[in-house]
Symmetry: D2
Subunit: 384 residues, 4 copies
Amino acid sequence: MKKLKMAMIGGGVGAFIGKIHREAVRMDGGVEVVAGMFNRDPSQNAEIAERIGVTPDRTYPTWQALVAGEAALADRADFIAVCTPNHLHYPIAKASLEAGFHVMCEKPMTLTVEEANEIADLVKRTKRVFGLMHTYTGYPMVKLARDLVKRGDLGKICKVTVEYCQGSFRKMDFSVPLDKRNKWKMDPKCSGKSCCMGDIGIHAANLVEFVTGLEIRQVLADLSSFVAPKGLDDDGNVLLRLSGGAKGVLTASKIATGEENGLRLRVYGDKKGLVWMQEDPNVLRLRAQREPEQTWKRANPYVAEVSEASMRASRPPAGHPEGYIEGFANHYLNFCDAIRAVDAGKRPTPSMLDFPNARDGVRGLRFIDAVVASSKAGGVWTRL
Amino acid sequence: MKKLKMAMIGGGVGAFIGKIHREAVRMDGGVEVVAGMFNRDPSQNAEIAERIGVTPDRTYPTWQALVAGEAALADRADFIAVCTPNHLHYPIAKASLEAGFHVMCEKPMTLTVEEANEIADLVKRTKRVFGLMHTYTGYPMVKLARDLVKRGDLGKICKVTVEYCQGSFRKMDFSVPLDKRNKWKMDPKCSGKSCCMGDIGIHAANLVEFVTGLEIRQVLADLSSFVAPKGLDDDGNVLLRLSGGAKGVLTASKIATGEENGLRLRVYGDKKGLVWMQEDPNVLRLRAQREPEQTWKRANPYVAEVSEASMRASRPPAGHPEGYIEGFANHYLNFCDAIRAVDAGKRPTPSMLDFPNARDGVRGLRFIDAVVASSKAGGVWTRL
Amino acid sequence: MKKLKMAMIGGGVGAFIGKIHREAVRMDGGVEVVAGMFNRDPSQNAEIAERIGVTPDRTYPTWQALVAGEAALADRADFIAVCTPNHLHYPIAKASLEAGFHVMCEKPMTLTVEEANEIADLVKRTKRVFGLMHTYTGYPMVKLARDLVKRGDLGKICKVTVEYCQGSFRKMDFSVPLDKRNKWKMDPKCSGKSCCMGDIGIHAANLVEFVTGLEIRQVLADLSSFVAPKGLDDDGNVLLRLSGGAKGVLTASKIATGEENGLRLRVYGDKKGLVWMQEDPNVLRLRAQREPEQTWKRANPYVAEVSEASMRASRPPAGHPEGYIEGFANHYLNFCDAIRAVDAGKRPTPSMLDFPNARDGVRGLRFIDAVVASSKAGGVWTRL
Amino acid sequence: MKKLKMAMIGGGVGAFIGKIHREAVRMDGGVEVVAGMFNRDPSQNAEIAERIGVTPDRTYPTWQALVAGEAALADRADFIAVCTPNHLHYPIAKASLEAGFHVMCEKPMTLTVEEANEIADLVKRTKRVFGLMHTYTGYPMVKLARDLVKRGDLGKICKVTVEYCQGSFRKMDFSVPLDKRNKWKMDPKCSGKSCCMGDIGIHAANLVEFVTGLEIRQVLADLSSFVAPKGLDDDGNVLLRLSGGAKGVLTASKIATGEENGLRLRVYGDKKGLVWMQEDPNVLRLRAQREPEQTWKRANPYVAEVSEASMRASRPPAGHPEGYIEGFANHYLNFCDAIRAVDAGKRPTPSMLDFPNARDGVRGLRFIDAVVASSKAGGVWTRL
């Protein structure tokens, strides 16, 4: 198996998500980080490079330099991972694709729907592999959930409730300047027009569409700003209408005191209902009206009967918990297999393509646009 | 302690809630059922009477006969429990109050806001004790939740999520005539303008107001009819705006496949958040941002420090679970103490008055009115 | 249905279990407390009598007076409930049976195996109905567990782990005189030769035999006295060997800091395993090796298919929790039906006889004897 | 940070634990697998080597060849990971240490106490860093548990219950030849004198000593063979006596139908009690008698106040679960830091040495010896 070469933009000193990308990408041994532009500060940039074994000649001072520099090398990186603040996703993804790199990009894909459409078109035109890091669909039991729905076990989907509750803003003191990691998130020019919905509501929306196979068609939103500066939303409640007639509720919050990373999904079909919770990710609960509730557990033979994708995303045997980093790693596994196929001139199989992509990116931006518009209008049904 | 005499209307053969009323009322030994009109069918009426020890002379063929008959007795019933289908709550409550009886009434109090206001006025005028059976506020840990909020432990309340999910309609076959117990629930003339919201959404709304001490000021609802006949709502998602600036989501469903009686409340203040779930009623979870999550358990000394009401509502010691019937019984305990006080010419203490009353009844009907109106208008913010 | 008349001995001011007996016995409406000897202190005795509606003429100063007095009445009590400290169980039960009363007795049945055998013989001879209040087998899901084992769902039982952990002694100050409720429990003349095993270990042993249908044949015990006075056991760990070759562990403790009433049972057969926990009593978990874990919930149709006894022990519908008092009440329900049958000259059906009896009482005393002997001998296998 | 070179023995095609070692060791980027002897079958050996990027010249046909070959290289491996069947641990560890390699060894360290003592002596003499893969003490919340006990939060430890329940043997058909992965585990010459206790009971014992800081001084065991061939134990119940007067129970099983990897620990001190469960590893429950139960969650500031080791073992922020592979990785992190220190001629800090070592290996073998001897003698207290 060919080891792929990765270049990373962002993920420097103090960054949370870039470090996770590296831990995840290393775990399965198929990728090597060979180049990077981690921090704008030169000494921090060098520090990270050294720590993770990137040589100085491939440690670049700007993302533009990285794209250009790598493009010029014979031994160039196979793909570029974009772990920067949101507003840089678009220009970097664009430049990288145009320079012929495959791209793994943090969410949201861009700041606007227009940019998102442009990236999606560019991916098609350049025939590059493009991944979007909606981590949570990388969990084995989320893949199982999707495959149970697909197989028809839940019947026709009628109702969805999804929430993504955090209390993180309760720990922050907005009366003093924020640290670097949080500052850009409070600046719409960097983070986009929504704070809470753009950061975590978008994951909840993505999870709903992934598991149900349905599209969120209309939203009616009530966004709030309890503590965030400049009227940025730090909480929101959204009514959902999905394709096929299903309805639902999405709630996301940064001010839900005491919550850590409470992403929870329930899907009710006319035959069965399911429950998945990110903080207890190794199980999936399945309920019918006249049967005992079932707790499906990761990596069991009965999972294998339904979902090859779930098993492929499982490392240790049943009973040995997996977590967040493994969810990340699962997306990278498929993403890299797809790159290997494309680079070998082959068509990636559907199972290789089981990771979030530019289409999810467009959906996400349309979701943000719609909830912000709906809420601004005082709460009106708004199409995605 | 004077044993009170209760007359019961409804609660006959095949009825669920009337039996619970009797089990609850008996448990603490302060009430005796002395009269009843249980079923319209004379033989069923007699059967229940005999089973529970009501003598034939006080087994009445109609509710009108009961009210009149008991009113004429020297040894007349102290209060009347109304456990009939919804449309009879109003006339029976009215007649009972006017005849000088105290009343314990099933929810919803009436079919319309107008009727509800009328009952509330009548209660004031007649100075009778009026209880409304919103069972769930009778649970000890719900009383604790309220008292924690009241004491300020949660800080300023910002967000509420409440749900009441059942899958009961998934077990029913709507293509054939329904059994007696369900038939009237599908007839708006008997059950009121809302099915799901009127039956269970109303409990969720009551629970929110009880625990937070806030009023639901505006709702924006999306009601659905997935399987119920005649376009009756069997599911609904509602955005909430509460007094004091808090926001929230309420979701209720009869088609949430696999759910049994999933009433769950979360309240987030700016200091702490709490979680209570009816199916695990003996604990209350309390969470802050920089402290371990706390699980408060029923009948402990640390509960007593916060909530005398919670302790008063606890029978066996900590670790010995209590349930639904005990929740009922707790309302009856306070209700009966209030009757004893009033009948002795005293003013009931606040702790005696800790049961749902006619004001809750008015609030409930206004909630139903508002959600139905909001949804019919296609989803607009509607004041209660 | 004939209302039975109950006389109660014990259960006075400050007593915990007597009050539970009354709450339980009232709930289903089939029993009336007509006589009592509640406290030795006359004023407390009168106080309880008045509170619960027992007339002064049937409020007796001693248990002997009660047995004699009631025996002499035409309208005499149907059965006597014995809720006294342990050492009085034997003489009262004996006298009551000899006077022709049916008896419901708190556990342990007596202080010694010899006494226990005598009561068991007397029950046979007098043909009276004798119930022993091992509460926990009254829970609906425990009855289901037994019936699943009986039906063969678990296959051949191989292993059992049972624990009954409390931390109650951690709250007590043994350096000062204990209150009345705890004092006799620390006096072997009143409570018997074992404190922890006699009080709660005996429930764990009873639960094992009830659910598995097997007998504990041999024990090997290590009892400890961490804080209890006079070397009384406040903790114990016991190896079990059961009939049919199954093995197990039983652990009971009064010094398990932070535990409330942690009675938990696991049974492993060669086909399935089950888990039941008293603090979460409305569910039963069932696990097989190649299937999703199942959570069986009280009062569902799939429960009814296996266990008529479980359904008979269920009051409100699924999703509405029941608790400890209801467990008590279930034993009384069957016990009273058996009395009605016997008094009508009929043979009670097996379902009426589904409550703990004198045989369980003998087994319990043999268990206490064996664990104390085993531990005293330094840990040797000892037959029951 | 210097990247360490690892040579691996074992962990070939079809092996479970070797793959986990590689995933774990890669995650944090500080180790590179440079050499290996994975399978005795040459083609499988080559297959794994190629898959993980080990060059043919450093893919060895035997472990002896690997030790000798690497020892002869200038660029030799820094340490050797021993992931073979049990009987090879001793000779490989011995040869590796003697050849100057640091060693990470799977448990049990050897087959006998004598061999274990020899390895422990050799580690001292050679001054090599020796790690033993008792994975479970690598979990962050287990480190927190230890540090809470050490800080005195639990007070004096009185009681311990630990269990390690699996149902894996229920899936196996012992009437046909076993597959390679299981075959050696049923051969005492390869796996040692105990099957269940040697494989998993040993983890439970290690966990107890790690968290409590106490030594298991005496055991009294009842081992069983329900389905395993040749009378090998597949289940066992053990009474424990620990230093300082604490007592406990340890139960381990391979025939606990429906269990996956049920390692669960409870420790009761005279102030508090704690609960940790491997299948829910990101939380630690802490209970006192007069306080709400606390759920401590990974990577929070209140954890940091108690346990620097727990934080160091945490990668993603609170609310983002970690699992089994991360537990492995944590041991490797410290082990590698210790190697770097030793190789730089420095003394490793205590925090670097926070991984299981040869002393744990000796304790483990003594535990196995004692439980087997105790059970064979029919259940007698046996010193470790």
